[in-house]
């Protein structure tokens, strides 16, 4: 069942040493679902896919739909079939994640979390596209721009990964945001939820695709990279 499967191209780990080449097109990615998150070649902005539309929040905070030939080094996508979990009001980000985790009791498999509503505060980041030779993830993420908004309506889309898959993905919640009026978005650093409709979708299968035709990826020696530490600095 496709709706039971989370598809991932690339790994978070390959971003760490700067293997930032786009190795799958958005057109190919969208064959695996209509909902997702990711980044572009050279960490070219933050991506959020909603209802089959792939939005890019670029390093300047500008939001646009990317074309089918836009390429990604890392992205996660699935076919939406969310189940409603009810409403949440007046909670910090940590409280939201804790309450959802408590409610779904699903810490040992992958799931997606979607919250549509009003965010009292929203703080995101997006990275400017790097050119070759690529920087490491930590270097690139230090050059990110940060965007904030208050009383923002929009959609939070998050993927939860079990601890044992840290490195392949980001263990715990990894969340992107898109404002309803497309004036704010990106990788979420922090938020406060005013009022939101919460839904989730559990996956039994992770379909993990690797860029085996990219020689830079295939020949890289990951033994030199401290993946977990880099994820902590750049993604959590």
């Amino acid at each position: 069942m496709m709706n039971d499967t989370l598809y991932q191209h690339g790994t978070l780990a390959l971003l760490v040493p700067g293997l930032l080449k786009g190795t799958m097109t958005m057109g190919e990615l969208l064959e695996h679902g209509n909902t997702g998150i990711g980044t572009g070649e050279g960490l070219d902005g933050e991506l959020i896919i909603l209802d089959g539309k792939p939005y890019q929040i670029n390093g300047q905070g500008k939001i646009q739909v990317v074309p089918a030939d836009f390429t990604v080094p890392f992205a996660t996508i699935h076919q939406a079939e969310f189940t409603d979990l009810g409403k949440l009001t007046n909670l910090t980000a940590a409280e939201v994640y804790q309450q959802v985790a408590q409610q779904v009791q699903s810490q040992n498999t992958f799931f997606s979390l979607k919250i549509t509503g009003t965010f009292q505060a929203m703080k995101t980041r997006a990275v400017n596209k790097a050119l070759e030779p690529y920087q490491t993830l930590v270097e690139a993420s230090q050059k990110q721009n940060i965007f904030t908004g208050e009383q923002v309506e929009g959609t939070l889309l998050s993927y939860y990964s079990p601890q044992v898959f840290d490195g392949a993905s980001v263990a715990g919640f990894h969340s992107h945001f898109l404002a309803a009026d497309h004036t704010l978005g990106g990788h979420i650093l922090d938020f406060t939820l005013a009022k939101g409709q919460v839904s989730w979708q559990q996956f039994a299968t992770l379909e993990q695709h690797l860029p085996v035709t990219d020689s830079a990826y295939m020949q890289h020696d990951f033994a030199r990279d401290d993946v977990t530490s880099a994820i902590d600095q750049a993604e959590r």
Copy 2:
């Protein structure tokens, strides 16, 4: 392309605290390929699937084909389409793995290695089936039986996993053996190759299925388990 996909049910990590319930039948597993390795419920022996036949080497070293309703907590399977790599002669296990790794240059994706030939020495282990309440992997593997043979003809089937997936599977090579006359087999601890025909098959995708309907798995707190250390003790 199915022949480009490695299917895995369960994780090595779930064996560590003793989540040993069989959560998929052999019949279901065989829908995903004709070649693989795994273990039975309660670590009931070592499994090796060749040409669609699922052989079990039980804790006493006895070898038999298991029925379709035999259940597994952890198994890896794919549809065979191996490519020949030539012959190797008079090498230790470490030398074989090193030469293959050097030849295929594929350390950052999953692949399978098959060697058919004569093994000057072969040392395997198999575990006796445990009953509930299950022991941890390290406790169970200390009660393994060890089997040895000299000048044994047979098939080594191995799966290589990239380092970042350690825990989901066994990083590096994870190898099982079946003698041509079915008198020796199991999880390989060590070997010397006299002369073997070597072949391999690379995978671009890991299809990782998790036992989401098993409440013991879903509710377990893996934070208490030292998965890497346990894999080192029990599987490498």
